[in-house]
Structure formats: C-alpha cells, structure tokens
C-alpha cells in the first residue's frame, strides 16, 4: 500500500518533469539534417512517380522537384533551429501551433521566390501549365500536410521517449530506495546503545549514516568518483561493524582502481549488504568479505567475495538487489557494464565490470 503511494508520487514528479521539456528536436544536429534530406528525396520521388508516366522528362522533373523540396526542407529546418531557444520558454501546444504557422509562412515565401526566379529567367516550361496562384496553393497544401504529419510524428516520438525516460527514472528512484529498512533501524538501535557507552562512537556512526543517506536521497543519480564511492562503502561497513562486532571481517584490495574512475553512486553498498545478509549474519561465527579491484586501462572490475552460509535458511531478497544494480548499470553505461554472480559452494562472488571513465568523459 505504502509502496504504491510512493510509486505514484514518483511517477507524478517524473511526469511533470517530462511535460516541461520541448518536443521539437534539434534541427541543427547532423542527424536531423540528414533525416530531412532523406525524407525530402523520398517525397520528391513520390511526387514524380504519382502521375504514372514513364518518359525521358521523368528524371529531370525529379531533379527539379527534389531541388525545390530540399531547399524548402533545409530552410524550414534552419528557421526552426534558430527559433528553438525562443520556443523553449513556451508550452508544447504553443510551440506546435506557432511552428506550424512559421512553416506555412516559410513555404509561401519560398514558393514566391521560386516563382519569381522561374519568371525572371524564362524557365516557365517547367511549370508551363500552372498559374502563379495554382503553384502557390499546391505548394501550401503539400507543405501543410507534410508539416502537420512531421510535427505530429515528433510529438508522438517525444511522448514515447519521455515515457521511457520517466519509467526508468521511476525505477531508478524506487530501486535506490531499496536499501534494506532493516539497516536503518538496526543502525538507529546501534546508535541508541552507543550513546550511553561510547558517545564519540555514536557521533561518528551518526555522521556516517547521514552521509550515506544524503547520497541515497540525491535527486540526480549522477556518477561519483571511485574514491568517494570507496569512502561511502567504508562508512557503511563501519556502521555494520559496530553492530556485528568481530563477526564481520573485511579486506579491501582495491588500490589498483584509479581514484578518478567514475562509478554510479552507491553501486557497491547493496552488494556489501548482500554479502553481510547472506554470508555473515546467518553464521554464529560470522565470516569474511574480500573486495578486490582490477584495472586494465579500459575497464575496472570489482569483485566482492563472501563466505557462503551453510545454514539451511536461505533468505530471499538477493535477486532484487542484483536486478537493481543491473538496471542502474544499463542506465549509466548503455550495455557497456555488467554484473555477474558465481556461487562456488563455500564462496559467493559478485563481479561488477564497468568501463573506465573519468569526469571529463562523462
């Protein structure tokens, strides 16, 4: 019940953010210019083929129609490109209507210029049968329909893209919120106990906890440097160490990983939490965790190894954390990072591989 409420709130916030972004793509980008040219050629081909004829004039007609359409298309694109910063301030409805009007005005203007050139240079044989008005109205009709279709297409595509983005944001936020509630309450209990016996330690644990949760509540899920991630992970272990005492032993062997490598914030913590939950807590004597780091100039690899509990009671929840990390790696590295797990009787391994990126790369 409560989870559903959180889910809905998060979804609403993301939806609001989505609504406020501009649906028109950047027409100055090379990708857009290329698409405009291709669509122009295809449109010209359709217009040439529609009269259902096959003569020698066909390809020269195609060339002329194509020239006219390309001219229109590229001019319209550049105007929309110039107007884009201005459009950003307005709602998408206003942008849709005004960009449509701008396109119609552009088509009118370009048609007039074309007609003037044709007349001035006595090229009337090209459009011999059409009068000035017929030429203009035909162009406006064709241009109007194509523009409307294009704008509609951009709008739909934008909506779809935003939906996907909002969904992955929602997932990201929810999944990050999955730090086990157990951990928070256990830590509170630890602090309550330490306040009496070791006030300085209670103070330090409170600071550690605050830092962890500050990172967890950060709205933008940006990348942080490895050195920062390591500090946060150590804070986490410090807190758990208070609680589990000598039952938890950990060895960090990560000096190979460059401190400036960028990693998704708190990518390690859920894995450490899993290691404690499955490997240390169920055992009376506890166990040990080893964190190893490898670096080969292109990739960093972090391996978390923990002793496998022999106790029959296997607790659930492991898969959620792993799915969470997989999802976050996908969002941050688009398939260039991975997580793998190996269960070797006595030992359990979780291996995260990520491309080496510094702050300048991201």
């Amino acid at each position: 019940m409560k989870n559903d409420q959180i889910l809905n709130t998060v979804k609403q916030i993301n939806r609001d953010r989505v609504e406020s972004s501009l649906f028109l793509p950047d027409f100055c980008s090379i990708k857009m210019v290329f698409s405009v040219v291709i669509i122009g050629v295809l449109l010209a081909l359709i217009l040439t083929l529609v009269p259902l004829r096959m003569d020698q004039q066909l390809w020269s007609d195609f060339a002329l129609i194509s020239l006219f359409i390309q001219w229109n298309g590229l001019m319209c694109s550049s105007v929309l490109c110039v107007l884009r910063p201005f459009f950003k301030k307005y709602s998408n409805q206003f942008v849709a209507v005004s960009s449509y009007l701008v396109l119609l005005i552009m088509i009118t203007f370009l048609s007039e210029v074309t007609f003037y050139i044709i007349e001035a240079y006595y090229l009337t044989n090209i459009i011999s049968s059409a009068s000035h008005w017929e030429f203009l109205i035909h162009n406006l009709l064709i241009g109007g329909i194509i523009s409307a279709l294009a704008l509609h297409y951009f709008y739909i595509q934008h909506q779809w893209r935003m939906k996907v983005q909002a969904e992955s944001y929602t997932k990201l936020q929810l999944l990050q919120a999955r730090i086990r509630p157990h951990f928070l309450f256990n830590s509170m209990n630890t602090i309550a106990s330490l306040t009496r016996s070791k006030p300085e330690m209670a103070e330090r644990i409170t600071e550690d906890l605050a830092e962890l949760f500050r990172m967890l509540f950060r709205e933008d899920h940006e990348m942080i440097s490895w050195s920062r991630e390591l500090t946060l992970s150590e804070h986490y272990i410090d807190i758990e160490k208070q609680r589990l005492d000598e039952r938890l032993s950990i060895r960090w062997d990560v000096s190979q990983i460059p401190a400036d490598a960028m990693v998704p914030a708190l990518i390690l913590q859920p894995l450490l939490e899993n290691a404690i939950f499955h490997g240390i807590e169920p055992e009376i004597k506890g166990g040990s965790i080893v964190v190893m780091g490898d670096f080969d100039k292109k990739q960093i690899r972090i391996t978390i190894q923990n002793s496998n509990s022999k106790n029959l009671v296997h607790r659930q929840g492991n898969k959620i954390a792993l799915a969470n990390i997989e999802e976050r790696l996908k969002v941050h590295f688009q398939g260039k990072a991975s997580i793998a797990c190996e269960d070797k009787n006595d030992e359990y391994f979780a291996i995260v591989t990520m491309p080496y990126q510094t702050k300048n790369d991201t």
Partner: protein, 247 residues
Amino acid sequence: MKILIADDEPLARERLYHILKEIDDDYQLVEASNGLEAIEQVNQEEPEIVLMDIRMPGMSGLEATQHLIGSDNPPAIIFTTAYDEYALQAFESQAVDYLLKPIRKERLEKALNNCRKLNKLQLEQLGQQNQEITYRTHISAQIRGTILLIPVKDICCFMADHKYITIKHNKDGELVETIIEETLKSLEEEFSNQFLRIHRNALVRKDKIEALEKQDDGRVLLKLKGLSNGFEVSRRHLSSVRKLMKS
C-alpha cells in the same frame, strides 16, 4: 524476576541490559547470543521472561520459541525486532507481544507488566504466516523438564510407534534413540526436502539411502549408511524410493 536477553548483537543486548536495570535494579539478567544459547540458558537459569530477537544466526528466535513453548513450564516470550514486515504482520494477527528496536523504556515496561504466555496454537499459526521458519533446524524433546535439541542434520530416521515417534540420530559418533510427541505426517511435510516416506511408519534421511534388498519372503528392505538392519519399504512407497535412487 529473572529475564533472558537473546540477541546476536552485543550492542543491542547492552542497551536492553541498561534499560532493564533502570526499570528495576533487582531484575536478574542473563544473556544469549543465538537461539541455541537461549534454549540452553532457559534450561539452566529458568527465566520467567525471554526477550527474543527474531533474526539470529544458527537458530532464529522464532524456532527457539517453538522449542521453548513445548516445555512443561515455558517462560513468557516477548519478541524484539528492528524491522520485519512479514513477522510483524503475523504477530499482529496473533496478538503476540513484540517490541520494535530501538526499544523505548516505557514500551518495554508495559510489555513486562502484561506479558502473557504464548500458546502452541498461536505459534503454529505464526509459523505458517512467516515464510522464514518453514522448517526447523532442530527437533526438541522433553527430558526430565529440560529441552533436548537434536540437530535435524544428525537424524537418520523417524519411526512412528503408536502415539510417539522414535528418532534415530547420531550423537557424538553413536546412534541413539529419542522419543518425541509429534506426528509423522507433519514431520514429512516439514522436512520433505531431506526425508522420504518409505512406509506408513517410517521417514528416512534421503542422503543416507544406500541400497534396496529383496528378501525371500517378498518384502523389500532399505539399507541405510551406517545402519546394520534394514527398513521395510511398503509397496505403496516403493516406486518413489526407486525414483529417488535413480536420480
């Protein structure tokens, strides 16, 4: 009054210790760091109240409680936990007392004042609602007022005999027999992953099965590792035994 604090975290025990001493300096306090130790302490110290953490290594608080309330004069039990969605729902539905960590002094005082004894029915239903204690790690038997725990992994077989069940199990390298009061049917359901029914009156440990022997009189006997005499397999269960042995 004697109170047992069962919790695997030293700091959690320490905190409860201090609060209890604040409530009443005359309380006699004993501690245990897991379910097994808790039962040992109950046997030895006979406390009136146990503050039982649910998640503990080795044997959980819920399982320890299951063994405890089977005894002749069980202590009253108050569960403590930091956060346990499923367990809490189960407790609420069964009106079992529980305390959430960090525990407030006033709340603890109240719980001590009106703690009641759990009954078996309540606990059975708790077990059904709580996913984590679907099967026990130990079987408990009453011997002269104290609780004897038999690790399930040491048990070779359960033999039903009228009202009682005889457990044959290894103890310090020797095979001994202990009698408990449970039904073979419920044991079969609980431990179906480790034990197989071979006869109306027998459950045997799957990984101890060695060979099937056909007798002259047509009966089929099952040999278990480390046991000289075989167990009769009924015709009804023969196919399932064969299936297991093939795989």
